[in-house]
């Protein structure tokens, strides 16, 4: 009889203990992340940031691409399609120029005054003949807003992160398509790229680019206007 009552008491007691535990959880804030509608990864403690070197969407910076087709060759699933042609001998799209990467993420394309090799030792560098045609949109906007006709800017060496020399382009890229619905994210194409212009995005937009139509996953990186020489000359003449 003693055991019987003890059993009843234990049963009721343990159920009540359990119910206390669950009702506490009932009033806890929820941890659900309404993922496609909310992108605030950093605000949620339970979601980690995207790690460096994450292999996301492929992106090709066509201005640096030399059309070597190494990526097309090495791709195991043949998701890259490149067609292009060499220009007639003696012709080139533009002259050799420098790309100055600034530490705040902007880049300026132009020709550095003076000797290229000494630039990092000096306090500041002056870039002339800044071209808006190939530069990033931010620089273009800034130059147009300032109304600077001389197309010359001076940056201190502390602002500059690195300087890349861009060789004269002697080819014409007709098509540079990457079908991301086929891509297996092996990253081989980025490894063989000699100019490091083909990269995999490790930012949020490199992860979320799903679509309802498969054809939306074919990304075209060719910029026809880049090769459109007549139009470029016209804009230069207008300037």
């Amino acid at each position: 009889m003693d055991k019987y009552i003890r059993n009843i008491y234990k049963g009721v007691y343990t159920v009540l203990v359990g119910m206390r535990v669950t009702i506490r959880q009932f009033f806890e804030p929820n941890v659900t992340h309404q993922y496609p509608y909310q992108h605030d990864f950093e605000k949620k403690q339970n979601v980690r940031e995207i790690p460096k070197g994450y292999r996301g969407q492929l992106y090709n910076r066509i201005e640096d691409c030399i059309g070597c087709k190494k990526c097309e060759l090495i791709c195991p699933v043949d998701c890259i399609t490149i067609t292009g042609d060499k220009l007639p001998k003696g012709e080139q799209l533009w002259d050799s120029m420098n790309v100055v990467h600034l530490k705040d993420g902007r880049e300026v394309i132009g020709i550095i005054e003076g000797d290229d090799k000494k630039i990092m030792s000096e306090d500041s560098m002056t870039i002339t003949n800044i071209t808006t045609r190939l530069g990033s949109q931010e620089v273009i906007d800034r130059l147009e807003a300032s109304g600077d006709e001389s197309r010359t800017e001076t940056f201190s060496t502390e602002e500059v992160s690195r300087v890349v020399t861009r060789n004269p382009v002697v080819f014409y890229l007709d098509q540079f398509d990457i079908d991301m619905s086929l891509c297996m994210y092996c990253g081989l194409c980025t490894e063989v790229c000699p100019t490091q212009c083909l990269v995999m995005k490790d930012s949020l937009e490199g992860i979320e680019y799903s679509s309802f139509d498969r054809t939306d996953l074919i990304f075209n990186f060719d910029k026809q206007e880049m090769y459109d020489k007549d139009e470029a000359e016209n804009t230069e003449a207008a300037d």
Partner: protein
Amino acid sequence: MPEIFSEGFFPKINLQEGTNWATDFVRDVIIPRLPEAVAGHFPMELGTVLVMLAFAGIFVAVVPLLPLVLVLAERKVAARFQNRTGPMRVGPWGTLQTLADGIKLIFKEDYIPPQGDKLLFLLAPYIIFACSFAVFAAIPFGDGIPIPSDFNIGIFYIMAISSVIVMGVIMAGWSSNSKWSLLGSLRSAAQIVSYEIPLGLSILTVVMLVESLGMRDIVNSQSGGIFTWLIFRTPFTFIAFFIFFISSIAEVNRTPFDLPEAESEIVAGFHTEYSGMRFALFFIAEYANMFAVSAIGVTLFLGGWQGVLPGYDFLGGFPGFVIKTLGLVFMMMWLRWTLPRLRVDQLMNLCWKYFIPISFFNILGTGIWGLIFEKDDVWSIGISCAIIYVGLIGAYTVAGRNLVRKPEPQPS
């Protein structure tokens, strides 16, 4: 002329006394609105039947909406217990999720297992559905709301009609020709038949105190505020309420008594082979049953539509009834997300070794209580509340210290 057409074969409704609410409705509301030429010849019997049918139609239309709300509530409550949000996509905060699920179920293929018993397979969901709906016919929802069929044996009728559900369950399990279905239905039969005994014995304590089986009489006897609710009337009904509540959870096959549809053991139990609208019927019946059982608990023990204070509307009337019922439904969900599923032997152990003896003890105690005190004696209520209070406090302090000990470390 056959006997069936003769005068007096069918019992006639007594129009003069007007004991039937539908007859009252026809006499007081419909006939004064009719043109005078028709009013004199209006058939009262036909009108009564039509009014009853119309009222039943309201129930048939409204009660399937209950699961729509309850399923969503269940999913939201379950999500809260697990720090989730539950369905969020369909409609604002996922409020249309169950509607979308229902539409999906309507359009699904209605598959009938070719090896099974086709007639029983088709019949089973309707039996369960009809029985769980028939329970609503005798539940008093509010003061001004007529009970569709106001028996003087209301609670007896509810017990009887809800027992028929077992038949539907066994039919579904047998006719599916599936081992999971058969196992589930056999478990369900064993469980429901067992737990009907403590359920009925707990109801019996209430019936002994009220001295009536009618649902309206039971509610009317609890009109004096919270302490005249039958749960506090005697210490024995206090225990009986919890036995009733736990048994009714077992009765509607919910966790922790969900052996008949244990997902991890027998897929989905007796409705494994069902799909489409027939599965939806099982689902609706399950949630309607859950609400019905809670409503019966509120009616019997928690005052029905009577308020907390006599003369005030707080927790009274139809809204109060629904709030109290949903409170019990929430308790069911709370228990579901607290306790794991019982084993079969534990299930039977709990019923036969604990609930049934305690229920008999309750009946004995209630009978003695009824002999000692007059009906509706204020002293009896005071003494009862004092005993319940002292008992709870005593259990919390004295027994808590003596009975629940941490296991002593075993010598190695």
